[in-house]
Symmetry: C2
Subunit: 357 residues, 2 copies
């Protein structure tokens, strides 16, 4: 990390002429950065959390690091943010690593893996279990530095227009489900389709798709999905604690003095816990509304379905590992951590959840 | 919040004369604060996390807010830190709110309640469920501002020198267990005793006590408790996700400019998630050691014991509420949130844990 003097993109917002040095050696150099998200404008929690982050960073740094936030599509198309940050068109992005699995199949480990780590497990792995180092290693060739910043918690399994009584009932369904979850569902005979958030409601309501996953009670209620399908399934085995990602252009990062780097790292970690906490609090309130006002039928996936999907998940992971050495390397590390985590959870979180039943 | 100009305790560490204003209006005013913890020197994770926090704050603020950390007893006795911060002898403290339950019975809700919220639930309640506002309200008369900063996750149930097959086996045991957990155990006929960390091993090994709770695999292994008792019980029903507490003298807090306040808030939230993540990662590694190297017998409390202790917990909470209006008020808010949280967890975290069994 470096302190002062790197040349670069700083622009002068300062109104008054001062010495090069601020208090205690702070560089007066100013950074005006752009951050592009993959979220629609004002997308609750996701985009709002990024806005709070940028405001906090600007205030904590007294305007020395200003981050202007653009929603998906405002500056560049949402799913081009990886390239834009990689090339330095913008300095930061916010989204989820599994959006880049076309380029880097192993990226999906840093969001969520079906039947994998929940939010608490992801944070333990990323911050203290070697996960973050692996993540940095696979992004380094793209001149990118990732940080965890936000987590949705366990999502819901999705909305279905018919009841799912066994694995056979999945066969032939058209379901909006992206990523590895879609690959796993395909093994059960589902036809996974990709639709953006804006297309889901109408497609489901018209019967163009038979099922969809989205996020959780709070976001699903806002989208009105309870008016388009009768059955709401849990748990979200396919996304048990998706980590959201702050992408930073590595050359830009190296130009930040240490104080600004620490401000970004602390603010990203704070956003990580604040966003998860907001999801949890808003989901539990929205669940009450769905249940009490809208009388939604909320059902667990049958055990047989869960066990089959779990088997298909292992197959899908092994298939990808056979094709991609980096994927195989991260899979090995991930499985080792997840297995220790499951042993510990069996005495702690899982045992405690059991005691509360 | 205020920006500039408040009179106070700032002392001049600055080596070079500069204007009153730093970059972008940052006050050049310097704050040299003291923070006293309730932890032994170098106590892993607990004390270390506070050291990291203070170093980060100092660097993020370019030395404008320097926090010197003292372990319990180094400056003042550990359990006098509440008074010391309240009176302004020092500006900050770190510990756990339930240490102050002698003064404020309701304080224990902001650490942990037997059969109450786990770490994720505590954070949702504190940050987005009204918990933090209640906490601030009950500390305000003491001129204190609390922030959540750290969480141990679900603890272990404790070490026992004999097997616990039924609730009757608890009767007459001398157990080191503080707080509400001790009150609940007393209802089962346990004689709860208070011992500091340094006294536990010898007391247990000599049979002066029959059982003890401490923290979790990582800290328990370091204390060598597996050499003093044969049976290690789970889960830690009495401390399912204790929140650690940053105490701030409110008058001192009001003197910080907004940028330094935000630096403290973000750093405390970052420490909150980092400390929990470190506990999880180190506990799962220590669990392997206890199991594989030391062949410790790890057992679940029998269902009957759990159900009885749960009933005793409700009795103990209701008894305290009958004696203390503030306790009753916080209990009502806590129960409302915890009940919604349990409904949501039954579809998310708890259901997912079940799917992984």
């Amino acid at each position: 990390m470096q302190g002062l003097g790197a040349a670069g993109v700083a622009t002068g917002l300062a109104a008054c002429g001062r010495s090069e040095q601020g208090p205690a050696g702070a560089s007066n150099r100013r950074f005006n950065w752009k951050l592009v998200t993959t979220w629609p404008p004002n997308f609750p929690i996701f985009h709002e959390g990024v806005e709070r982050f940028s405001q906090d960073v600007s205030k904590m740094s007294n305007g020395r690091l200003r981050i202007t936030v653009f929603a998906g599509g405002e500056l560049i198309p949402a799913l081009q943010s990886f390239d834009a940050v990689s090339q330095g068109t913008v300095e930061m992005g916010h989204g989820a690593a599994y959006y880049w699995s076309g380029k880097i199949p192993a990226a999906q480990f840093f969001t969520a893996v079906p039947f994998g780590l929940n939010a608490q497990g992801m944070n333990a792995w990323l911050y203290y279990g070697g996960g973050r180092e692996l993540w940095q290693e696979i992004y380094e060739p793209f001149n990118l530095m990732p940080l965890p910043m936000g987590n949705t918690g366990v999502q819901m399994g999705g909305w279905f227009r018919k009841k799912i009584n066994s694995i056979a009932d999945l066969k032939g369904l058209k379901m909006r489900i992206p990523g590895l979850g879609g690959k796993v569902m395909a093994k059960a005979g589902v036809n996974p389709v990709l639709l953006s958030g804006g297309e889901i409601y109408t497609s489901l309501e018209r019967g163009n798709i038979d099922a969809t996953e989205w996020v959780g009670p709070y976001h699903d209620l806002r989208l009105g999905l309870h008016r388009a399908a009768d059955y709401y399934y849990y748990p979200g085995w396919h996304e048990p604690g998706p980590t959201l990602e702050l992408l930073i252009n590595n050359s830009a990062w190296q130009q930040l003095p240490e104080d600004l780097q620490l401000i970004v790292e602390n603010a990203a970690a704070a956003s990580n816990i604040w966003m998860l906490s907001e999801f949890e609090a808003k989901n539990l309130a929205a669940l009450k509304t769905l249940r009490e006002e809208h009388k939604v039928q909320i059902l667990p996936f049958p055990d047989d379905v869960i066990q089959q999907l779990r088997k298909f998940t292992e197959e899908a992971l092994n298939e990808q590992a056979a094709k991609d050495a980096t994927f195989a390397k991260v899979l090995t590390a991930y499985r080792a951590f997840a297995s220790g985590n499951a042993e510990w959870s069996a005495l702690s979180e899982a045992a405690y959840a059991q005691a509360l039943r």
